[in-house]
Symmetry: C3
Subunit: 289 residues, 3 copies
Amino acid sequence: MPRTVNDPTPQTAALVDALERVRTRAPLVQCVTNAVVMQFTANALLALGASPAMVDIPDEAGAFASGADALLVNLGTPYAEQRDAAGEAVEAACAAGVPWVLDPVAVGMLPVRTPLAVRLVAARPTVVRGNASEVVALAATAGLSDPAAGGRGTDATLSVDEALRAAGALAGHTHGVVAVSGPVDAVTDGDRVVRIDNGNSLLTRVTGGGCALGACVAAFLGATRADQLDPLVATVAAVTAYGVAAEVAAEVATGPGSFAVALIDALHHLDATQLTDRASVVLATASAR
Amino acid sequence: MPRTVNDPTPQTAALVDALERVRTRAPLVQCVTNAVVMQFTANALLALGASPAMVDIPDEAGAFASGADALLVNLGTPYAEQRDAAGEAVEAACAAGVPWVLDPVAVGMLPVRTPLAVRLVAARPTVVRGNASEVVALAATAGLSDPAAGGRGTDATLSVDEALRAAGALAGHTHGVVAVSGPVDAVTDGDRVVRIDNGNSLLTRVTGGGCALGACVAAFLGATRADQLDPLVATVAAVTAYGVAAEVAAEVATGPGSFAVALIDALHHLDATQLTDRASVVLATASAR
Amino acid sequence: MPRTVNDPTPQTAALVDALERVRTRAPLVQCVTNAVVMQFTANALLALGASPAMVDIPDEAGAFASGADALLVNLGTPYAEQRDAAGEAVEAACAAGVPWVLDPVAVGMLPVRTPLAVRLVAARPTVVRGNASEVVALAATAGLSDPAAGGRGTDATLSVDEALRAAGALAGHTHGVVAVSGPVDAVTDGDRVVRIDNGNSLLTRVTGGGCALGACVAAFLGATRADQLDPLVATVAAVTAYGVAAEVAAEVATGPGSFAVALIDALHHLDATQLTDRASVVLATASAR
């Protein structure tokens, strides 16, 4: 997987360029995602300019994935048919070189999705996106945690450093990217760590606030794969664009209901000026491992 | 199936009258529909004045359908239980004379829903509603395409004429109505072709924009079946009412998020004046076959 | 189950206190609920300050329920996996003393959910929430109806008295609380009857208007169980808070679409002053049986 970028910090121009490619290429993003957030996820993708396709049943998911531009697998409500569909979609995506995102919702505590997530990690997702607890739990369950990190599982008091150690271990294992959502987001490929300080806390008061981001990451991967854009840069672009849209939405919202509506509007109208003016992206030290 | 209408072009008064019947009769519309759009579909039906009932599991769907006023079968996420539920609901609806709508989402490309759609077409849906690609793909898969039309499947560059040929062939086969959604909508029973130039392009940027229309068509069929209203007129009324509501919504919306909210409000408030002032309905030449 | 309260009428201060506990404790509310309303339900819980968890598959639902603060089981779309999940979640909740709410959507008419609801009633839900028809149908199916009441099943012309007789019989059987939603809501434990005259008719024009209330009842039960608050008071607090939020939302809404959005905002901002100023709660005569 190519990691070469001309400069180590994703510049704002690169983020704007990636957004432009989503708009012009309308990547076809297959989503095997949870029943709670399907509508919001599809609307976020449409607003961004992508084409969502919620193809999530066995015998269709695999056939579709090989022709999709990107795939999202989200484990929020892993019904039996969705589990089978996820398996065949991932296999087909990997065989066809289609980038894919794993969102391991609530992994660690629950006995069906947890072993499924570990199996999916073994298939090397292009990007894993989760909150700190999920990333730490996934790394621990997959046997990747640095024992020195303590492995406290799903503890909500996890430090950012702890999450980054787990994210780095995961990224090293998948040879991919890991995006950790939080008050400040972090994206790492195991070598570089990029922090994005955009977004708004209302994202945590709307169901699907994180899940839809996973789909947007897939859209950016799908729109830029023909250019062989570094997946880390594509992921940073998605996280930044989504966070900037959330900031714009929060300025007109009067609560989480109107925020969710305004976020869709903001994703639709997001432009280069907003992204350039508001993006807060820094390359941290290369200390992920 | 009665096809007699006093005049061949649905007049605006007939559309207003049909809307009035939806309001006063509150038809019970059973929906076996996809997981992405269930909420939006139910809310659209409620706003229109209908009573939605998402009864979509085996052993319940058939029992319920015989007492419903109309049935919608949408193949967007055809899980195994929904496929069985659709089959028994259609059988019960046909036996009881309950009108039903088939929405063959993404048919043609996908190996589970495509043969299911062909089987359902054989049961003669009162109305088939889809976009041009879906209607062409369904007609081709069901072996109904005019070979001279080329049968290009799901090609997005389909001409309107090509879609109308396929729609006419489908309607001839089902002895029913086919509604083709697009920049200009077309409704045909194989003899007559009616074009409706209402709606707004934001409908294509909101998930369920077309799916909810299928449910509204079912509501209009259910509300007017006791009057033996021509299903073509009921379908034209639904497409026009929905399109006019979309126009009203687009005038107050600032993006697809607020448009989806405003569309529900507009369906709720839609009245005879709006429908009369804005309806753009013309009888095209009877060239569907 | 403790029934003692210091005074027989829930005072507004007690309702405000219960709301405060939801805010500060953020109860973890597991929802096994229907596919139509999952998103709206999760957003209502988040807006209220609770933590929703839509864990609804076999082998996970039971494991999760014993650690949840409360459980909601809603039978709106009872797919096979959800039926199994509901069974194991209820068993685990009962064993662990976790309060749970049963919402018997459309029970009585439909052959899969109806026997399931009767089995779940036998497990003694802390609260049953439904509309008058559902409560009457559930009591009749469970063999609890007063024969003198006529047992007219799901007749929509049910009198309030008839619904209260059924609710009282159900509550006597479950040793729990029954909440009957309607133009005026009623909550009973079989001894006391409390009427709450808040809310807005737009709640009936939005899908999930009642279902999300069931989840809010669970949130109030979960937030106050450590205090051994009378479940009747917790239920009255939830019904009142939800109804007041609906009133606030209706004042800014222009239709059911904007109402649903405003209701989430209003639940988020609901405060002691609004609740105190608007609560309309009266203890009716203890005539439930």
